[in-house]
Amino acid sequence: MSSHREAPAISQDPVADNADVYAFVSPDHPETVTIISNFVPLQGPPGGPNFFEFGDDVLYSIFVDNDGDALPDLTFQFKFNTTLRNEDTFLYNTGEIDSLDSPNWNKRQFYDVSVIRASGHGNGKKQHHEQDGKGEVIGQNLACPPCNIGPRSTPNYDDLAVAAVHSLAGGIKVFAGQRNDGFFVDLGAIFDLADIREIVNGMPSVDPLKTLNIHTIAIQVPISLLTLDGSVPTDAMAAKSVLGIWSGASRRKVQVRDENGSAPKGSGPWVQVSRLGNPLFNEVIVHIGDKDRWNAVDPIDDAGEFESYVNQPELARLLPALYPGAFDHLAAYNGTPRADLHAILLTGIPSGIVGGFQNFTGPNPADMLRLNVAIPPTTDNPNPFGLVAGDAAGFPNGRRVFDDIVTIELRAIAGLTIPLVDPSYTVDAVVTNPAFSSNLTPGAGRYQDSFPYLGTPHDGFDTPSS
């Protein structure tokens, strides 16, 4: 999956598991950027009585680099606190939840938002693990919505979700709570040795995530608060137009658990246990023995060994073996460092490769989403295949909620983007075969047109339906 359960350690720690990151110029508010970071993946909607929530003992962070050094210039931090109204019931709610302060809602979650602003270039700034979680508080005791339980408990769920969109000073909006998981992939096929159903069996693909929920932290920030000089760039070729964006989750270094069942107490600095920039990077590119370490370090540490995984991706070697005769050109090219993938994933695409576009952040190889904020959002029939299909507002120029990143990255690794850096390369015919894709179109309700852009979560009474 994008980054759902992608590494051994984090697969056992769902509340800290950073599953997806999205960053895009907001289509309905193009003076802002929306960043979405998802956690607690693969939620079965009926999962009560203790429905899903963020970890009170986890520090959630969204990082923004605006000067191309792969270090955070702005860090938005989110810390949660869960409260009980009534300890003498087993129920999450004792009646209909009709507001965020409903007396019927027993187990509620609140959060604080802080921002850490760094300045200067390079080593003067701190990496995430040297930050102490004590930034400037910009939002306090903000209410999350409940989980979507069912028609008797949460009959007007959308009203609750709207009430949980909080406006902060400076034109910032935040939301934290359950949403529909917008990511789509035929998991069963991909992890059965890339057994793409439409190609191998002539069968339609299956999207197991279409009935699952996730927990979303979303923040919408005026572009002028994110850029290096406080401007709203309009020149797509200017360096200052590009933001590097990633997110992560950290836990305290030591946890002490008493015998009385009370919540464990933490001690020591925050230690990162999950991070995510480009989708599928740790999932598909990094080898399993290094995945936990990759989660613990920062984008600026991606040079070297992690960089080598990009230059020689294992999947590019596997495809010719799994589909004999279909990837002969790729097989012959394997062994040549993949400068195309290195640019897409680690440095951004320099000017001169794609006409009128760049999202280059400099030579430091670092896994970040790179968003050129001078590219306006595509509001008329945006193409889910993004930049490779001519829609420069989509992945890998940031990532929109509906971008088909499985198809984009599968085809890129299979050689589709090699001609960008090596015009003599001929792409294998199968790569542009429509069936060589996710073969999935997300259904109605997966997304919405306004913040936080991911759709209403499935309710536990109706999902699954039988």
């Binding site: 040297e130 102490d132 979680g133 004590k134 305290r252 270094k253 030591v254 002490v256 107490k265 933490g266 001690s267 020591g268 600095p269 925050w270």
Partner: protein
Amino acid sequence: MERLSRRSFVKIAGAATGAAALAAAPPIARAGIGEEGAQHVDPSTGVPEEPVVAYVRDARRGEVTVTSGTREHTYRDRALVRRLLHAARKEVS
């Protein structure tokens, strides 16, 4: 006690890691009470809300890491390491 910077410590850590760990709260003086070199703890100084934890990071180098709040410091104190390891042996015997 010699204090190491985090960066210098990270470079040398990872070879031999902790052989013993003691949580200092609530049994704050578990390792020291009644033993030679134990120090008196004045309750009036206040008990931290969160645990203060000391653990042997590298016994061979005599390094102890202390975590408190969101900070950690690593010290080189061979005598303390010996006492912690001694206390740990007593705990398991």
